[in-house]
Amino acid sequence: MDIAYPVGLVVVAASIVIGFTALVREKDDLHRILLTDLAEILALVLIALVATDLAEALILPGLVVGISELMAVSEVYIAKEGLRAPTGPLFRIEVMDSAPGILALILVAYGIVLSGFTGGAIAAVGAVFYFMCRGHTEQFELIETVSGYAWAFWIGAFFIFMFLPAYWFFGVMIAGGAILIKVMAKMSLVGTMRRGGPDV
């Protein structure tokens, strides 16, 4: 707790004054939502200034609470303004016809090389892109089943860590592969949420 903490506090205080002044002056409701989101970051900065492990652990719940409040207020805003998803022709550009195959292949392959959670996320981006561009006629029960088995393998890998620590490498491989498949399966469902799909 040296000079950095008081200086940081002064900076945060100045930011709070600026942010709240902007909020008072702003009249547009949508802009006010965005400004409150900015102001919430300052609460996280105040926690982060403490700069201990405990403070680090406190940031995540603070962030989650902030995001959930933002979502609740946004929902109220949508209901208040009576906004609806626009209906019209689907968005189409040429690259969406030519690129998905090769891009999805590269991303999925690279994701498998990375493996684990990060790999799952990257492979999922490829799958999301493919589904968004090409549409989807797959059976979702299949994806969900695969995801469920992957989850069971992941848990099994943790039992290996606990009961048979000598086989840790085997456990790492199972966990890495399973979490890759699980994250990818879950996230690829996002790609099918595009409007106009059969089950949106």
């Binding site: 709240f20 105040l46 403490v50 403070a55 609470v65 409040e69 208040k80």
Partner: protein, 222 residues
């Protein structure tokens, strides 16, 4: 570790539940608040909602409004969640957990009010939501300054009197709870209470009352 300074308004501890270094407890004071919140949560679970009556002006006619069951179900869920968050805020023994429960009360209050498709009520809920989001700054800021000033968040350590909690942290904590859990006190309360569903709307008031009493106890004892 487990004797709360009896000089404080909380009284002696009756029951202690230890999760690592987070210690939830009952004192006579918080036990009374807990029972009060529990009664209202049970009331919300078992009660059937009222139907609002509108009287046609200039005549004897009146009609009851139709209540959408889906919205009502959502409102009841939010009211129960609000009751549980209040219970948590009352029994917790950790300042940061208290602030988290307070902001959970804020979210569920928005949900209770917003489950009604009336432009005025939605406007009021929106204003409340903005204030509740802004209140997280002093709320978490207060907890962070407590942590920075004393090195702990446990009420067991803070209530002892050996720790000097900065005045600004106490002020921030009170300000945050005022914005988060007690917004109906000053934002368009009339508009908010126009929303339907008598037992569920009550939960907004119960939670704000209990949060007020609890934060008073915490700030005085620190």
């Amino acid at each position: 570790m487990f004797d709360l300074p009896t000089a404080n308004i909380g009284g002696p501890d009756l029951f202690v539940l230890e999760f690592g270094d987070i210690v939830a407890y009952f004192s006579p004071y918080t036990a009374a608040l807990f029972v009060f919140a529990l009664i209202f949560t049970v009331l919300v679970i078992v009660s059937r909602p009222e139907r609002q009556v509108d009287i046609a002006f200039g005549g004897d006619a009146y009609y009851t409004k139709v209540v959408d069951p889906d919205l009502l179900r959502f409102q009841r869920f939010m009211a129960i969640a609000c009751g549980l968050a209040t219970l948590g805020a009352v029994v917790t023994g950790d300042v940061f957990n208290f602030t988290l429960f307070a902001s959970m009360v804020g979210i569920t209050n928005i949900g209770i009010v917003a489950a009604y498709r009336n432009r005025h009520v939605l406007n009021a809920a929106f204003q409340y939501g903005i204030v509740a989001m802004l209140a997280t700054v002093p709320l978490f800021g207060g907890a962070a300054i407590v942590l920075a000033g004393t090195g702990t968040l446990s009420m067991w350590e803070l209530f002892g009197g050996a720790m000097a909690v900065p005045l600004i942290a106490k002020a921030f904590l009170v300000l945050g709870v005022m914005g988060e859990g007690m917004a109906p006190f000053y934002i368009a309360k009339a508009e908010i209470t126009r929303a339907q569903g008598a037992p569920f709307i009550l939960m907004v008031h119960v939670s704000s009352l209990l949060l007020f009493l609890r934060v008073t106890e915490i700030v005085i004892s620190m």
